[in-house]
Amino acid sequence: MSRIGVFTCHCGENIGATVDCAKVAERTRNVPGVVHSVDYKYMCSDPGQSMIKEAIKEHGLTGVVVAACSPRMHEPTFRNAVEEAGLNPYLCEMANLREHCSWVHEKNDATTDKAADLIRVMVEKVKHNTPLHPIRVPVTKRALVLGGGIAGIQAALDIANAGHKVVLVEKSPSIGGHMSQLSETFPTLDCSQCILTPRMVEAARHPNITLMTYAELEKLEGFIGNFKATIRRKARQVDEKLCTGCGLCITKCPNKKIPDEFNEGLGKRSAIYVPFPQAVPNKPVIDKTNCTFYKSGKCKVCEKMCPTGAIRFDQQDELVTLDVGAIVLATGFKVMRTDKFPEYGYGKYADVIDGLQFERLASASGPTLGVMKRPSDGKEPETVVFVACSGSRDRAKGVPYCSKICCMYTAKHAMLYKHKMHHGKAYVFYMDIRSGGKDYDEFVRRAIEEDDVKYIRGRVSRIYEEDGQLIVKGADTLMGGEPVEIKADMVVLATAVQAQDGSEELAQKLHVSYDPYHFFAESHPKLKPVETNTAGIYLAGACQAPRDIPETVAQASGAAAKVAALFSRDELTREPVVAVVNRLPAPTFSYCVGCFLCQSACPYQAIEAEEIRGRDGTLIKTLAKVNAGLCQGCGTCVSTCRTKAIDIQGFSNEQIFAELMTL
């Protein structure tokens, strides 16, 4: 038999002024199952909580209803109090007399009636409450970081420095990411590689970090604290342990005419290569599609030349399985290529380049060694037009969002150009200048005011070639839409930042959600910016949305802090508000029929199959089973289940039904 105690709070005047609390307490006393009902000025105060604790002991209460404010406010307070008195905290419920009654209704009998009703509802619920216990899951204290750009490197270093093991997986042969391609960085114009490469080396050397370059995630199973990741280590055809990185193979490789990815196609590389001189690890890979041996079956020059015998033509991809407790997603972005712009020549004009290509042109380690030479003929461009918002904020291009970094890097590009060619002319077409950030607007002003970059507010409608020059046609909207035509030697398009290729597939592998543009979705836009909706998987950098370097690094450290916090405990405790599949004695075992319709409804992949076998091992029944580590307690499965075999603790069918039956 239930012995319920009900504690009605006046909340000072907040409830008491509108609801006749004494009358409510009196009426509640007559509800079957209620053995104790009192009202008090402030239930959440120490004396108030003491009243509850004493009543639990004195009256042997089996359930408590606190009729006060919103459970979203004080449920933890009262559940704690109840627990301190030796009652399971989940035997305490709150009736919301303040936010849902006294504050929103006039003082009259109907309001008092409603207050009594709200209590009655919770009394009936609490009669059906059962003691619940926090769910504990162990934590594997090793993190997996996917993506070896600055975001991944930063996250890996922070986690490693917190004392935890990290596996850093990068799909290309070297870590470094887009940042390693940049020449200088805004707003300080410090050399990108100068600040990045020490971090790369630190990551490679860190005793807690295992680097896996030229590797990709194949499969992910499990849940927070207990993931099982399968990594595909692509065959480099080079034994990393034997290779000393001497580079002899690269020098001797006969095929040196391959467009160089690192230089954005502006330079050439050999078939066996390291992406760039400061690559980490500084070990080459063989590009099998271009290697003469793989194409014709003859060559093997590198193998002959290698002093340590590290070349392995028979090396195969390798699958490695790792147990990890947390994952940081730092897979970065890509930029839209110039061939997506019919109005700017479909990428067929060699001197219409994108921002990353300009970075390589401006870089001291780039194909021109930092000398301004245009790609088509190597001529120094006297006039350069920079087009901001190329593709961004353009629904027709499928990119309605702002790419965020282009305003700043366009200013930087114009400035770098002017610094290298003082007599040259730099024009920037822009829609708006978005330079929010520390020292950012000052930086743009400097470009305009000190470096004499001409900013024209308007869009470029067309670019075409004429007599070895590019005719840039646009309009100046600040001059009333007056047509502008500039004869340029080179055009730099600040093309849109887009989600990395394969983001959708990766998101599906990881069961994280993504936005319509395939950027990974954060759990909450304000309060959970580095969490995903899958517990234990965090976000860093531009895989979530366009970001600049400082933001990326900050977010990476944020994600690392989340991982470190997770790893600070040996096991996780979670609210037991999770779904459960009922289990019964043989021969029924469960009402579950194993149709698994709940499985496809679950947003968290928390439903697994469980086989019931007889003593002789024969399969009797296959049931759904909830992985309490993954379940977040939404209850969508409950509404899908026809046999009512699956139910959710804390909001069970019996509880909700009982509530409904009192109305």
Partner: protein
Amino acid sequence: MADNFFLPQASLDTLFAALTGDGRRILAPTDRDGRTELNPVTSPGDVAKDYLQTILSAKEAAFPKVERLMSFSTGAGSVDLKDAEPSAVPTVLFGIRPCEASGFKALDAVFNWDTRDRFFNARMEALAVIGIGCTRKDDACFCTSVGGGPGSTSGSDILLTPVEGGFLAEVLTEKGKAMAALAPEAFKADPGLEKKVVEVPVAFDQPGLTKRLKDRFEDGIWVEQSLRCVGCGACAFVCPTCVCFDIVEEADAKGGHRLRTWDSCGGHMFTLHASGHNPRETQAQRWRQRVYHKFSYYPERYDMLGCVGCGKCTRACPVDMNLQEHLAEAAQA
């Protein structure tokens, strides 16, 4: 000994008016939306014209599909109980077939076996039956195999048998006389009418079946026969003699009722124990129970059959579990 009369077709109006005038409700087969079903009527014109039988049986007049047994309400620290009173409206069942009329005896056997059921008895007391003998039959009919017949007077207070221009009326009981007395002008002297009903051939040897069942309990025949049975309760719910019921409570936080509803031994939950054990776990066991209950346990316990051969179950069954055919098979060696 029955008193026989001639009841001209036209006099039915007079009879109906007299019965209604006496405060009685008349339930008769009607034709509604293409279905023959029992409904309250006020004039003979409301009665279905050319019917074999109703889909559901007449048992609902005494044993309704849902009836309230008691009510309760919860108050301040107390529970108030209140017995329900059966709404025993004086009722005349008009035009049901002799097979169904005789079915009430099988119900009575259970409802007055050890405890006298207040609800059933109140309704039976208020009930009078004017049956009509059969001039038609179909392949599901087998009344003659179970001791009945298309002109059987068992269970009727007045039995009408169609004759040229009206009916031969056999006034059989005190209740029948009382009804006839309400409209004496309707009942003419019997000119020596011939009682002519349809012929229903005997399909199997029932005493032989009952005897045979004694040693057939573990026979594979029940599995074979029941393979196609889907385990619904259609047979039991249309049956004039099936008497199984469930007692349920419908309540909310403030109170509720206790109800009695029809149930069926064919359902898999019927014998399911709270432990999960089910003594009649397979459909074959449940099918066997249905046959044994009617043809073995009823004769043992009440010295009568639990079947009147109306064939409603055969007509209602979605998979044509033809009772007569199965019984004939079971009666064989």
